[in-house]
Amino acid sequence: MTSLARIGTIAMNTVREAIRSRLLYVLLFFAIALIFTGVFLSALSYVESERILQDVGLAAVRLFSVAIAIFVGVNLIYKDVDRRTVYTILSKPLSRTEFLLGKYVGLVLTIWMQMVIMIVAFVGVSQATGAPLTEAHAAAFFLIAVELALVVALATLFSAFTTPMLASFFAGGLWFVGHLTRDLRDIGANSDLESVRRFTGLLHRILPDLDSFNLGVEAAHGLAVTASDVWLPLVYGLGYIAILLVSASTLFERRDFR
């Protein structure tokens, strides 16, 4: 059995676990409910009702997907260690890195699957209300998918060495700050103090720049999106994910399961 097949076995089992979990369906229900709520919210406005509808829809897809990514992600490794299921799994011919990657891939696939369901609801609502759907929407959803993969990698990293409570605090905090690092850098750039400029620049380089995955404005306003608007964040995201997973694997390989 190849390494990829072992990772695939763990990944498919993780997907199956999520499919059989009630929590995911509850969150998915609320996400779709919020997308439909956009119809009523947009009806309250005389202007740009289609934009409001799609703003709310895109925000619902992003927020609920991130919530699922963090809440499921922080338990991803911790639960298996805490309940000792990891003992029997790691006694098989499979490395800890393969196990961790399998869990990661499984959760990313799960979140992408539920995201597809939300997108179907979003497209349905847009078509029913006559709101336009453009290439920018496809690009926006694609980058949300990349952002989610990055958030799952963050949650996996913290799940590999700390409790779900702390991991959700760290991952949630980093997701929130990650959407501000670009603004922080721009604010710092206008400062007269060199140290402030350097510090905010450093923060922007070290912490994830999650705003680079946000094409919500372009999609809702029907603005043009260039190829580099997609592939640059994609390369950045894949690089960041690789660093997070290598760090998670290094920490996980060194752990003692007492």
């Binding site: 790691l90 006694s91 011919p93």
Partner: protein, 318 residues
């Protein structure tokens, strides 16, 4: 795979330290322990709670890293992963993904263990039947009893037909029937030529199934060898039941032969060393008393174990 049959599992000078908290202070839980497990035997790794049995087993399974020393299974360093294709492991109080059914969980482990797709379904069905779970195969594990989960644990450890099987307290928490079933399964493994390494503190199970034992006390091995030698090493004797022995004669037997006298009045019982049995009988019969029975007596594993534990603990404090 060519492996020295005398060293299917080899542990040499293994040391493990834990940090109890966040401080720098370390607590040594394994003090340079060494032992070997031979091919085809049931090896009992025996010790009281907290002696270091599970820690040793976790080092062998690669779940924790030793600080020093060597540990190998089937000639491979335990830090490698590929040898585990030939190894099965049942942890203490095993927990499995309870959203899966018995059949699904065994299929999952069979895949991870590299069982070929063509044989997987047959192998899983055979194992389910073997451990008596064929009827519950398609029920979710969350509906299983503790005994059933233990049997799932045994089945997942054997699903890839391993050469060596490691069992951590396989009978703990089971009722007498469950214990007998697991014991029979272990004995069946020996007839199939498997090597079994079993952590336990239940001495009656050790006596019934193990060929060799190692006793670990406070992180140190105090004995390693065949269970028969272990019992032979201690003094044998006999319980002699006598009727009509005069009290002064009883006192004399106690003094002369170091016999242990129990009971009083007409019927008394004497525990004497094997070498003194003939002399005691001669003296008793000569005194006109009646010998009702002579029962050969062997010191129980439990009493030897307790004295080994005591010796180990006094060695630790000394």
């Amino acid at each position: 795979m060519s492996v020295d049959p005398a060293g299917i599992v080899r542990v040499a000078n293994l040391v493990k330290d834990f940090r109890p908290g966040f401080g720098l202070r370390r607590k040594r839980v394994l003090h340079a322990i060494s032992f070997n497990v031979r091919e085809g035997e049931i090896f009992g790794f025996v010790g009281p709670n907290g002696a270091g049995k599970t820690t040793t087993l976790k080092v062998l399974m690669g779940l924790i890293r030793a600080n020093a020393g060597e540990a190998s299974v089937l000639g491979c360093d335990v830090r490698e992963t590929q040898f585990r294709r030939h190894v099965g492991f049942l942890p203490e109080n095993p927990y499995f993904y309870d959203f899966l059914t018995g059949r699904e969980i065994l299929t999952f482990y069979a895949k991870l263990s590299g069982v070929a797709r063509a044989q997987r379904a047959d192998r899983v069905a055979t194992l389910l039947d073997w451990v008596g779970l064929a009827d519950a195969a398609d029920a979710r594990l969350r509906t299983y009893s503790k005994g059933m989960l233990q049997r799932v644990g045994i089945a997942q450890a054997l699903v890839h037909d391993p050469t060596v099987v490691f069992l951590d307290e396989p009978m703990s928490g089971l009722d007498p029937i469950g214990r007998k079933e697991i014991r029979d399964l272990i004995l069946r493994l020996r007839t199939e030529g498997k090597t079994v390494f079993m952590n336990t503190h239940i001495l009656s199970d050790v006596e019934m199934v193990c060929d060799r034992v190692a006793i670990i006390v406070a992180g140190r091995i105090t004995y390693e060898g065949a269970i028969e030698d272990f019992l032979e090493g201690d003094e044998r004797g006999a319980d002699v039941v006598i009727a009509g022995l005069a009290p002064e004669m009883g006192a004399r037997l106690e003094k002369q032969f170091g016999a242990c006298l129990r009971g009083h009045g007409y019927r008394i019982e004497l525990r004497v060393a094997e070498k003194s049995v003939s002399d005691v009988l001669r003296m008793v019969l000569g005194a006109g008393a009646e010998v009702l029975s002579v029962t050969p007596h062997r010191v129980s594993l439990e009493s030897i174990f307790l004295s080994a534990v005591e010796k180990g603990r006094s060695g630790e404090s000394g």
